[in-house]
């Protein structure tokens, strides 16, 4: 077995998130998302890599009447956010990578996020796409299923903060708290 610390891993996880910004518009927890990534060890305790994430949030607003200056509009509304991000990330492992099957870590990802805010009502929709800088601190653990095996499980919690601003939909920024759980493939090559 090659030392874990000399290797790399890929992961694919289910990504659940709860929005923390403008929760009146969407505050519901969502499990509709995922993340895929690559991380290579640059020392026994450090790795660096790339994370690609996607998330969908939605919330229903029952029929209501809103005043609009010199008038009013009545409808029900479906609020949606389609979110995609890419981040370069680094991780510090609290144990050396080949020391244990259980490998807790703390990491930080920096990158870009694009959010599309969409308001559906009847056959109509209003939408706005925004781009922002993303910072994502993360605490997680990797657990190898067997001592020398290539497969493992990853679980992590993370906080996403991005500068995606949408005046139209009332966002100064976008943040969420999430968790991810999925599979890890160690040293595929």
């Amino acid at each position: 077995m090659t030392a874990y610390g000399q290797e790399k891993y890929f992961y694919l996880t289910l990504n659940g998130n709860k929005p923390l910004s403008n929760t009146d518009w969407i505050g519901d927890f969502s499990l509709s998302g995922g993340r895929i990534g690559y991380r290579g060890f640059i020392s026994p305790n450090f790795s660096a890599g790339l994370d690609i994430s996607w998330m969908n949030f939605d919330q229903y607003e029952p029929v209501n009447t809103q005043q609009t200056g010199s008038g009013a509009i009545t409808s029900d509304y479906f609020h949606y956010i389609y979110s995609y991000s890419a981040a370069v990330s680094g991780q510090y492992y609290f144990k050396e990578a080949d020391e244990d099957r259980l490998l807790p870590y703390a990491g930080l990802g920096l990158g870009a996020k694009t959010n599309e805010y969409v308001l559906y009502y009847n056959i109509y929709e209003d939408a706005e796409r925004t781009w922002g800088f993303l910072a994502r601190p993360e605490l997680g653990v990797i657990y190898r299923l067997t001592e020398h095996g290539s497969f493992g499980i990853m679980a992590a919690v993370h906080y996403d903060y991005s500068t995606n601003k949408s005046e139209k939909f009332g966002y100064n920024n976008f943040s969420s708290l999430g968790f991810q759980i999925g599979i890890v493939a160690v040293s595929l090559y």
Partner: protein
Amino acid sequence: MKNLIYALTAACLLSWGCQPEPDAAKLIDDMVVSTNYDPEADFDGYLTYAIPTDTIGYISNTSNDTILVSPKSDFPRHVLTAIRQNLDARGYTRVAREEDPDVGINVLVVNDFNVFQEIVYPGYYGYPGNYYPGYWGYGSYYYYPYINTYAYNTGVLIIEMVDLKNRTPDNKVKVVWDAYIGDLYSTIDRLPTSARAIDQAFFQSPYLDKQ
């Protein structure tokens, strides 16, 4: 085997994460009802109205028809009756066109026509311009003092209250209240849904009440 596990897992997660949209049936459960009024209008001064019995206007990119008539279509009479009932219930009196009504009620359906896809600024004189068939004999000039950022481009029922009492010396009139109700064509059970939407249009316009 490993490849299979990866492929299945990836397919599962990717499909879970793909861009979902609202359920279409839930989306069209209720029509959108938008109303606007002219803040300068004196609604208390309008006592009588005129309205067609069985004809409404029709604007379409895909048809040369300019009107919908009952009994060829059951929609006009149904809609006009609902509007009449709402006006009567609010204290207005229906009179014939020749009896010099205070307001005229115009009703039209706009089908597949991108007339509302831009913001309509106060003082903008472009709408509805040539579209209007001129039921009332007062030409097609309308002052439209509202901002509307909603895009209507399929089937919209439009109800207009036109001030005939204060028309200008050169016979120009303006719309003092209007309602946009859509979408007409994706709605299931169009007649009762339209009637409910018309009730809602009046309900959310309390300044029209006389009692």
